[in-house]
Structure formats: structure tokens, C-alpha cells
């Protein structure tokens, strides 16, 4: 087990190196001239050239890459060319907000999607099943930004039950923190909850046709025991895969949701870096995003191996 974790962590290295190269190249090849964006249209050639040299932009690409990489390895992601703030401190401030948002939405969608899927499968073709299925199709079809706006209009404007946005750390002030996160969680998590529900339903129905369920019935076990002990654990295996694939979607969706709910998170940091062509921030953001994705996959693999004993930590 520990060896497996170490081995998986070692696999991070080539992945992250690859991502860092691509991030670096993308940012420098594709984005417009950051210096001209910085200085505005009124800047003279001389001023531009001066700033370019200051930022080290005149050095060859590989030299720039290596010096950036050396900084990153030392925990220094550079400084924002717009605000001059340290990129690592920007990331450390904004990332926890996005993680609260994304993982809260993930927990919500799993917490709702899996039980709803089980109920739907167990009471197949009942009013519960039809109701859950209808909601799920609605949840998949409504874009999260639209849902977010509707939620704000309804719960913040009209009913005035919850704040319309902003962020307070749930660690600092749990009540206010959660009050502000509830609507973003729903807006972001609804689609995933719907996917999880549909997946859990179909996967449980499929498992109920498996031979070992017939064995369990032939053994005289009760329906409850067959479902809860024999079927659900097996049905979760494909569901976990779907959740893992979609946690990435949550991180992407967070950008939009943060914008709507005015959460100054990692998504907004990314968005502003792109808009301002703040390549130093963008490089750091891309690298951290890659790290997050790899970590989520790693966690999913661990859960997967836990659920399915046929998968060994080798």
C-alpha cells in the first residue's frame, strides 16, 4: 500500500514536468504581448523594450523556462506582472476557496446522487424513479451559470434567505461561510448529482442481474442484505469512475460559478491572468491545476482499489 502510494507519487514528476513545458510554451507562444497589455497603447517602443528586459522576456525560451522551473522547485512561482504580488501567495489565498466550492459540490452531488440512484433502482418505474429521473435530466440539461442566476434571483433577491455571493471562510465563520457556499454548491453540483444518480441507478440495476446476486438469493438472504451488502458495493465501482472523471468538470465549472457568486477564488485568478496576459500567474495556475487533476485521479484510484479487491496496489 505505502509502496503503491510512493510509486504513484513518483509518477507525478514526469506528468508535472510535461505539463510545465506545455503550460510554458502555450502561454508564451499563444498569448498576446503581455508587455503591451501592461503598458497600454500609449507606450513607446523604448518603454516596451525596457520592461521586456526587466521581465527577462528577451532571453531565449529554454533559459526562461529553466529559470522559471528552478524558481518553482524552490516554491517561488514568480510575481504577477500586473499587481507585483507573489504568485504563490495568490494561489495559496485563492485555492482554498475553490477547493471548498468544488469539493463541497462533489460531496453534495455524491451525497444526493448515490442515494437517489439507489432508490430509483430499487423502486424502478415507480413515481420515485420517474421523479428522480425527471430531476436528473433537468439537472444535466440546465447550464450551471443559468442555474446559478436563477438561484440568486430566487433565494437571494426574492426570498432573501441567503446572501447572493461573496466568500467567508467556513473555518473562520462556519455559519456565514456555509450560508454563502450553499447556492454555489447547488449551482455547481446539480449536474454532477444528476450524472451520479443516473449512473448509480443503471449500475445497480445491472449488478442486480449478476450471477452472485442470484447466489445470494439462493442462499436465502434478505433483500435488504442482498442490496446493501452484496449489490451496492459492486455498483459503486463504475459510479466512482464517473465521479472521478467529472471532478475535473467541477474545477472548470468553478471558474464560471465563482464569477457569478463573486467568490475571489482560483477560477477568478485564472480568468484574470488570461484576460491580463499575466503569463507568470498563468504558468503557476496551470501547473497547480495539473497537480490538482493528478491528485484527484490518484484519490479516485485509491477509492477504486478499496472498493474492488480485484484491483491490487501494484
Amino acid at each position: 500500500m505505502y509502496r503503491y502510494v510512493l510509486k504513484r507519487l513518483a509518477q507525478y514528476v514526469p506528468v508535472l514536468i510535461g505539463v510545465s513545458v506545455i503550460a510554458f510554451l502555450l502561454v508564451h507562444v499563444l498569448s498576446g504581448d503581455p508587455v503591451r497589455t501592461m503598458l497600454g497603447t500609449g507606450a513607446t517602443e523604448e518603454q516596451v523594450e525596457h520592461v521586456r528586459t526587466q521581465l527577462g522576456l528577451n532571453a531565449p525560451l529554454h533559459v526562461r523556462y529553466l529559470s522559471w522551473l528552478a524558481g518553482v522547485l524552490g516554491g517561488d512561482f514568480g510575481r504577477s506582472i500586473m499587481s507585483g504580488e507573489s504568485v504563490s501567495s495568490l494561489i495559496l489565498t485563492t485555492l482554498p476557496r475553490t477547493l471548498w466550492l468544488a469539493f463541497g459540490a462533489a460531496v453534495l452531488s455524491i451525497g444526493i446522487g448515490i442515494p437517489a440512484g439507489v432508490v430509483s433502482a430499487v423502486h424502478r418505474y415507480s413515481k420515485w424513479d420517474y421523479g428522480a429521473t425527471l430531476l436528473a435530466f433537468g439537472g444535466i440539461s440546465i447550464p450551471n451559470f443559468f442555474l446559478g442566476i436563477v438561484l440568486i434571483l430566487l433565494f437571494a433577491e426574492h426570498l432573501a434567505w441567503l446572501p447572493s455571493g461573496g466568500y467567508v471562510s467556513p473555518l473562520a465563520d462556519p455559519v456565514e461561510g456555509f450560508r454563502r457556499l450553499i447556492l454555489p454548491w447547488i449551482a455547481l453540483g446539480t449536474a454532477l448529482a444528476s450524472i451520479v444518480m443516473r449512473m448509480m441507478r443503471s449500475s445497480l440495476l445491472e449488478v442486480m442481474n449478476d450471477q452472485y446476486i442470484e447466489t445470494a438469493t439462493a442462499k436465502g438472504l434478505t433483500r435488504d442484505l442482498i442490496r446493501n451488502k452484496h449489490a451496492i458495493a459492486n455498483a459503486l465501482i463504475p459510479t466512482v469512475t464517473i465521479v472521478g472523471l467529472n471532478v475535473g468538470y467541477l474545477l472548470g465549472g468553478a471558474i464560471v460559478i465563482e464569477e457569478i457568486f463573486a467568490i475571489p477564488g482560483f477560477g477568478q485568478l485564472t480568468l484574470n491572468a488570461v484576460l491580463n496576459r499575466d503569463f507568470v500567474v498563468l504558468q503557476g495556475v496551470l501547473l497547480v491545476t495539473a497537480f490538482l487533476f493528478t491528485s484527484v485521479n490518484f484519490i479516485v484510484d485509491l477509492v477504486y482499489a478499496y472498493l474492488d479487491p480485484r484491483i491490487t496496489y501494484e
Binding site: 450471477q211 458495493a233 472498493l307
Partner: protein
């Protein structure tokens, strides 16, 4: 294995059994499945009797309805199946029971093992857990029933490894069973998952599970079909040994006549959802009366190669368009006009009976049964009214068939 009172009591009841009171009797069982194209009758008019302690072989090609018949007994078919007829198990009408009433019978008094033990064992539970939960379900061991923790989906996901050990008595019995069915190092292997077992070991574990409550009837649905021949022999021996020890009756389903010959006391031959012939194994093998049984026996290779194989051409008719009359007539070398009528009743036969063609009898109607009391019966028009036929000269020597073959 330690002498358990239940073994001897079972053994005694086996000795005491009277042939008039079978352990299981299936009468006129028909099973229909609802499909989009209308109902499909998977099996029709099945009569089966199994006495205590005996082994009944149920043989037939794929699609002949063997498995449907077996699953009907334990009521394992899904809700699209409707069952007609009577299934009596030791004075209980199994078809009249609801789920809750069936449960104390399933796995306890009647248990079942399946063809593919790899698929029949739950991949995410340890083999020991799967065996011991059967014991805990049915044997009232104080403090070792199925716990609420186990019934709860959330806690059962946590799969605490000390679970089995908390139920000392049932776990000890599980280990003992593992040892009895020949699983090496049972203490360790009980904690392993099915994928860590070989095919033969999995089937041994299934047998341990099925026999854990010393059932009166074991339904074995092609238990050795998926196994190597060398492993097959071991599994067959094990089933026979445990059967003798526990006094369990066995309904042994297979398409392999060789296996039937080895294990069965009596044989039921099924074709296209119908029973076509029944009889004591030895007699049926030496004097098959139904052309289908003959064909099955002809397709078994012999060691010395003196008999050439005579495989049957064609396929089992599609259950949705079964022909009227005898379902075998399209493939039957002896088929004649009378076979198109209704499916014949069971004709009691004796080993020396010879078949006759109905055309020679000058009639195209299906003859009425005779000698109902016989152990050996066939549902082929060729054996209707044989008494009369054989007394007329020229018929017994007809070229139709020599049921005894080269034996």
C-alpha cells in the same frame, strides 16, 4: 468432520424413505416468460421426483430448459416468469410460498451451486464471509445472526476485517467446511477474495457454501462444465462424498452424458422444454428408448474408438416457434406422421421393448399410454401400444432402430 446429530438424522431418514413419498415432486410444471413478442413457454409439463439421498440427473442440450426447471424449484426466476403446476418439497408447496417463507428454505434446506463459480461468488466480499453469512442466516447461533451493521449499506462499505472473527462459532464452522471440501490453508484462504482462488477452489467454496446448512436437496447446475477434466473428477467425487455424508439428495444438471453416468441414480432427459425420457441410469444408458436419448449417447466418444461419433444435426427449436407435436421430429431419424399430432404422453417401457413406426401400425394418431407404473418412461410415439405391435409379425424386426445399439 465431527459427528453432528443432523448428519445421522439425515442418514436415517434416507434409509427410512419410502418411494411413495419423494423429497421433491414437480408436477406439470410449465414456465412462461413474457417477452415483447408475446409469451414464451420455456418448459412445459415437467414431472420430476427426487427421493431423499438420491441423485437425479437432468440432461439435455443448451436451451432445453434444464436451468429454468432448476431455478423454478428455488423460485429464482425473475418476475417476468409465470409458473404453473405444482412443486412440492417435503409436503410444502413451494409455489404457494412468499419471499419471507421461501427464505428459510433457500440455502438451508435446498441449496444450489452454479456453473461458473467465478461469477457466482461476490467479487468484493471475502469467500469466508460469503460462506459464514449463510450459516449465520440460517443456523440460530446465539449472538451471531445477521447484524444491523451488515444490513446497512454505509457500514458494509467499510468492510471491517475483524467481522468474520467476531462471529466465532460460524467462522469456525466455515473454516471446518473449507477444510472438509479440500481448500488448503483454510484459516488464511477464508480471508481471500474469489479472484484469488483457482476455478476448482471456487467451486469447492461454492460447495462449502451450499452444504453449510446440510440441505436436504442440492441443485447442481452444470457445476463442472467450466472446469478442467482433472478438476472435474475431484469436484464430482467431493459432491458424492458429501452427499453420502449428509444424506443430501442431488438434482444434477448437465449436458454431459459421461458425467450423468458417473453420478446419477436416475436420469431425466429434456428436449426443447419437455421431458422426453426418464429412467434408472443404467437402464437408460443401455436401453435408450427415445431417439433423442440415443442421439445424445451416440455423441459421447468412447475410449477405444470402435463406435464412430454420430453427432445430431440441426438445433434445438426456437422456443418462440416450437413445432406442434413432438419438438424433436425435425431432427429425428424416425419421425413419421403421428409425430405431428400432439406431444405424446409418457409410455412406460421395458428394456426389451422395440420401437415401431406408426406408419407400420397404420395409424397417425398418438397412442395412449400403457404400463404407467414403469420406472423407465419415454414420450415417443414409437413406444405407444408396443404390446400390441410386438405381437404382430414383421414389426419388431423393422429397420427403424436398434435401441440397444452395440452395447
Amino acid at each position: 468432520m465431527t459427528a453432528d446429530p443432523s448428519i445421522t438424522s439425515n442418514g436415517e431418514s434416507e434409509a427410512k424413505h419410502s418411494p411413495s413419498e419423494p423429497l421433491l415432486s414437480v408436477d406439470g410444471l410449465s414456465v412462461q416468460f413474457q417477452s415483447l413478442d408475446g409469451p414464451i413457454e420455456a418448459v412445459s409439463d415437467i414431472d420430476i421426483r427426487i427421493n431423499r439421498g438420491e441423485t437425479l440427473g437432468l440432461v439435455g442440450e443448451s436451451g432445453s430448459g434444464k436451468s429454468v426447471t432448476a431455478r423454478s424449484i428455488l423460485r429464482l426466476l425473475d418476475s417476468s416468469a409465470s409458473l404453473d403446476g405444482r412443486i412440492h418439497f417435503d409436503d410444502t408447496d413451494l409455489l404457494a410460498l412468499d419471499e419471507a417463507e421461501l427464505r428459510p428454505i433457500r440455502g438451508n434446506r435446498i441449496s444450489m451451486i452454479f456453473q461458473d463459480a467465478g461469477a457466482a461468488l461476490n467479487p468484493v466480499l471475502t469467500v469466508g464471509d460469503q460462506v459464514s453469512e449463510t450459516i449465520r442466516m440460517h443456523q440460530d447461533i446465539p449472538g451471531e445472526g445477521i447484524s444491523g451493521v451488515e444490513r446497512n449499506a454505509l457500514t458494509s462499505l467499510l468492510r471491517p476485517t475483524d467481522w468474520p472473527k467476531r462471529f466465532e462459532e460460524s467462522w469456525a464452522r466455515t473454516i471446518e467446511l473449507f477444510d472438509r471440501v479440500g481448500i488448503p490453508e483454510p484459516d488464511r484462504r477464508a480471508f481471500e477474495y474469489p479472484h484469488e482462488y483457482s476455478g476448482g477452489m471456487r467451486q469447492r467454496a461454492m460447495i462449502a457454501m451450499a452444504l453449510s446448512c446440510r440441505p436436504e436437496l442440492l441443485i447442481a447446475d452444470e457445476p463442472t462444465t467450466a472446469l478442467d477434466v482433472t478438476i472435474e473428477a475431484g469436484i464430482l467425487d467431493l459432491i458424492e462424498e458429501l452427499q453420502a455424508e449428509f444424506g443430501t439428495a442431488v438434482l444434477f444438471i448437465t449436458h454431459d452424458m459421461g458425467v450423468i453416468n458417473e453420478v446419477a441414480d436416475r436420469v431425466v432427459v429434456m428436449y426443447a422444454g419437455r421431458i422426453v425420457e426418464t429412467g434408472p441410469t443404467r437402464e437408460l444408458f443401455e436401453h435408450p428408448k427415445h431417439p433423442y436419448t440415443e442421439a445424445l449417447l451416440d455423441s459421447v466418444p468412447t475410449l477405444d474408438g470402435t463406435e464412430s461419433l454420430d453427432p445430431l444435426s440441426g438445433n434445438v427449436p426456437d422456443p418462440q416457434n416450437r413445432p406442434s407435436g413432438c419438438p424433436f421430429r425435425d431432427r429425428c431419424p424416425e419421425a413419421n406422421a403421428a409425430c405431428d399430432g400432439r406431444f405424446p404422453p409418457a409410455y412406460g417401457v421395458h428394456p426389451e421393448d422395440e420401437p415401431a413406426t406408426v406408419s407400420e401400425r397404420g395409424s397417425t394418431t398418438v397412442p395412449e399410454p400403457r404400463r404407467d407404473g414403469s420406472d423407465h418412461a419415454t414420450r415417443c410415439v414409437l413406444y405407444g401400444d408396443v404390446d400390441v405391435l410386438q405381437h404382430e409379425p414383421g414389426l419388431s424386426g423393422s429397420s427403424t432402430a436398434e435401441p440397444e445399439g452395440d452395447k
